[in-house]
Symmetry: C3
Subunit: 465 residues, 3 copies
């Protein structure tokens, strides 16, 4: 069954407005891999959807990695204490939290400009933008500033202060789960990273769209067949932490998406999973570029590559999960990426709304997809006597009758509804409605996972021994 | 061995003239799913080729269907008995048998025009053509008429009479079988529907072309390797009836064709079987569109779809037979389809002739195809000492020598001659002649079905459990 | 490990000069399937590279063939002893060894021109060129001459003499082997034919290029992983003789090339092996036409066909070895082919040099290819702490880091480095360097042949039973 009205047209605008409000609320917080900024972010998300929160202690191993110490910053500045400097803060964390390199160790010292230069980061080509820099895994510190400001710096000396803690603590992530009502315990994962400070598109847009999709699923009048699990955690170490604590669950992952960068003016880009032909990939290709629908004719499909967001971890060869990624402009491909120009002016409510609508349709296709078996496979069954076909012969069948014929013909247990829709060049929804009508007429049943042909719906394949 | 001279150029014209004569003789008969019109049709066919006739009683089950009651019609009319109508027949079955909806129940009553209207069928866009309508499986009645005539009807009242029987009886079909002389008991099926009344292209052209192909096979100087079985029966219920009585035979079906609509001015269209890569499909693609031949460069190959003629039943998932369909204009795609304009003026003897020639070549390829095994597979055997290759070296080989090299190189038991011809980009006939020469020289033998690789020649695959 | 500096740019010119010198030395010798001309040719090759020589007695069986008698020719002529002829040699073997049809039986008799004509071969279209003709397997004799000279012949009589021996002896071939230092005993075969008399491109160019590639491998500072075996033998019967004496070795052949015709002005042509997707095929496609390299954008890839050089035998269905062929102009496609115009003026040192450079890169790719296994497959390993990745985050990775990510992501044991390079659209060398770095860091190991997925590296598949 399709998730009826998961996000009807009239609801999309309202959901996008809610997303926008969440982005505005979250924008000022100083997030990083760990720390109170992340916890406050999860607090706000928890006001919108039910959350299960997890705190993983520093030092906990996660495959080749371990959970780092927790970082919290109170204040930081560079003050000019030279002649005529008057102790003025020439770089001030309170003005923009990008000014401090993420995970900087504490520092408090006097330095000349010459001594300070190696610790400064700016963009000569974009002199008005503050770059975003981090050093999670090597102990160092730094300041990021507008190149224009950097060029105005006098010889100093400067008072350089980073008032931060880097100490044993926890990494925080949260999950929101909508239990599936179908017969299987299969899951769909949605992951979005929460570790970026005041950057609007990357990734408050992704967080807010994920929250609205989760909210729509929590309140959908038709319950989903599959279990949907939304994960809000930091990039890389967050997905590794979740993976390392949920290995027993991975065999159930039937599809999944990494979400991010969904508010900018660019078109939608779907990046394939490592396997390239998983349910997620096929559903995304159908929804974004389906020959029968063309609704997103401008959307683009990207091949998998191992550089990107958390799909890098989910699609590492030891997991190889059926997870793709949905963004608008892909990372690194827009000028404002990872700078202070990725602010609220970069994102649009209409872009959030249309991303949400496409996502809702994609979610509905993933959830409703199943492998049908024709229970009357020898010849065509009589549709007329079951009220599914017109009674006067001689003319051509209508669109619904055509979809009925396609489903009956292809439902041999080797293909799922999505494959049938693609072969028939029909929209998935039309094929699904035909399948539901045939199920009600007793002519079709859905194969359980264990009955279906191995490749008919995407399943995790184990890594090589 | 190729079916030498199955239909040489000088014989095609004569065969087409015979086909035309048969069409003329059959045109006036009122055929339907059942009834004496069908029996008279089979009588005429039986004058041309040997027939085994079957009568299946009404009520006999055929999968989800059952054989309907037998329908016979003697007369039918609508007579204007209103003022000035003079009892004139304004619609008269004796003028055209399309005037009565097929399988109409008997009726005899007086009606006003207003009461009659729901029982009338006409084509406002084609006011001079009578439409063809049927109601096989719901008890109703109706009249079909030219829209121009309908608009002239006065208020009535009308005497409305259909003098027909709808009563327990039989469904009639017939087969003509040419036994194969090869080692296997595999069969090729040819099905053509016999249920249409006075419609020339759909499907007297198909009947007549099938009869001529069967006649050519019955009289071919080289006996076919495979058994050829021609079936003349009504659409849908006829193929279902045959299938339900011949299940034990289906495992032997190596190839097959549904024939119809072969006389109109359109180009040939081959519609693939459900599997899409069966022997029938590959042979048709080679003959109709082969890169090496181009003889039908204008012919078109269509993907399988579940709407159409009796391939719907043969290609249902429970049978999944290797059967394609050959027509000129596909059903529903020409204006005259299923109207009184599909009459003798629509079809051409030259179109019948060229359809027959292509069919004869296709039949010859299907029949001669086999999987060869090189008996001297290590290195090339010495062709020169066997008289198959010129004795002076230094120049390039001729076309026949090239075909010998291709057959020897590819004959590893995994490919049939058709696959070799496609890979070598040579006409099948040239490859087959090379294979025959190598067989005579003791360098090659034909694999039995049980030895051949499973996919090397198309075999029925069982339905899923 | 790549074969570093197998043939650096500055060495290619010198190697090509050596190749040219060898061609000049070999050009005058009268080679054939057997005989002292072949032995002298192998003597000269043996001065450049170590050779293991084999003499196979006449009459030894080789599959459907047997080793022919040995042919040696001392002199041959047609002398005009007619009026005014003065006994002048009008055709003289001492002027060009193409004048005598290869393997001509001895003859000594007086003939009129009319009697002589059936024994003469010339090219009316190319009146100044002497054709190359042979008759290895039927006892006959003949003379080849310029058509212009033939037309000037008087009525004779003529003294016709071929002073040759056709007697039990031996067929001579030689091998040069560079032992592999890797863990497997797999081999790469390189075959080039030695049976053509004074023809420069076909095939002294192939012999000389093979000698220089072998010499580079013998002296490479990095030892090859695989064993490289160069075979110098006559066409057809030579490869059959070698195959029949080395069947136990064939299972180890991982790749191979037939070389010939590498000095003419044409572009490089790689002809695929029979299987079409062997390691040789994939490496050649990558090196000649790789999207990432484009270094030979003008090179052409040819489908396999069973006509050609000794790939006909190596790719016969009973062996089906992973052997392709590298030439410039393919056989039969240039005017001078198999005529006296295929002399030293047809070939160029620069063409020999660039063929050698491409071959050296191809050899290096074949030798270094292997199937890697990621030893830390769950998530990405931390490259930074191993010195393989920059420590400041926020920017995009460089080319080397990108290659590291690709190798780690794809190294699941199902793909070799060449497949990874193709998927990543990176040059093989970059992927191989990344893999070597990961091996040194303990993150990757090479799968042994028995562990690797069956299709991950090309292996001989046995012939059908």
């Amino acid at each position: 069954m399709l998730l009826d009205a998961l996000l009807p047209d009239d609801a999309a605008g309202s959901a996008a407005a809610d997303a926008w409000a969440l982005i505005e609320a979250l924008y000022p917080l100083c997030r990083s891999l760990t720390g109170d900024g992340v916890r406050q972010t999860l607090d706000r998300i928890g006001e919108r959807i039910p959350l299960i929160r997890t705190e993983v202690p520093s030092g906990t191993p996660a495959y080749d990695w371990e959970i780092p110490r927790e970082w919290n910053i109170r204040d930081a500045w560079i003050a000019d204490v030279g002649p005529g400097g008057n102790g003025r803060r020439v770089v001030d964390f309170r003005a923009h939290n990008l000014h401090v390199m993420g995970y900087s160790v504490p520092v408090r010292q006097m330095m000349t400009l010459a001594e300070l230069q190696p610790y400064l980061h700016s963009l000569p080509d974009r002199p008005d933008w503050i770059p975003y820099r981090t050093s999670y895994y090597r102990e160092q510190w730094g300041f990021c500033l507008r190149h224009r400001d950097r060029e105005r710096l006098g010889p100093g000396p400067y008072e350089v202060v980073i008032d931060a803690d880097l100490a044993p603590g926890h990494l925080s992530y949260a999950e929101s789960v909508i239990p599936g009502q179908g017969e299987s315990d299969d899951e769909v994962l949605v992951y979005t990273h929460t570790c970026h400070p005041s950057l609007a598109n990357d990734n408050l847009s992704g967080i807010a769209v994920a929250v609205e999709l989760a909210r729509a699923l929590h309140h959908a009048p038709t319950k989903p067949r599959l279990t949907w699990r939304f994960i809000f955690g930091p990039g890389t170490i967050g997905s590794l932490a979740w993976l390392s604590r949920n290995e027993e669950r991975l065999g159930r992952v039937r599809a999944g998406l990494v979400l991010g960068l969904l508010g900018d003016p660019g078109v939608l880009h779907y990046k394939h999973s490592r396997r390239g032909d998983t349910l997620t990939d096929r559903a995304a290709a159908h929804v974004l570029r389906g020959t029968a629908t063309h609704e997103n004719a401008e959307a683009k499909l990207l091949d998998f590559e191992p550089y990107g967001y958390d799909e890098r971890q989910f699609c590492s060869p030891g997991f190889d999960l059926p997870m793709g990624r949905l963004t608008r402009s892909p990372n690194s491909t827009y000028a404002e990426y990872h700078t202070s120009a990725d602010d609220l002016t970069l994102i649009r409510a209409a872009q959030l709304a249309s991303a949400l609508q496409t996502l809702a349709r994609l979610a509905s296709v993933i959830d409703a997809n199943r492998t049908p078996l024709n229970l009357s496979p020898k010849g065509e069954p009589r549709l007329g006597k079951r009220g599914l076909y017109g009674s006067v012969g001689g003319g051509a069948p209508g669109a619904f009758e055509h979809a009925l014929l396609w489903v009956l013909n292809q439902a041999d247990g080797s293909r799922d509804l999505l494959a049938i829709a693609e072969r028939a060049r029909l929209p998935f929804e039309q094929v699904e409605q035909a399948a539901s009508a045939l199920e009600r007429a007793g002519l079709l049943r859905t194969l359980e996972r264990t009955e279906a042909a191995p490749d008919s719906e995407s399943r995790k394949k184990g890594p090589p021994p």
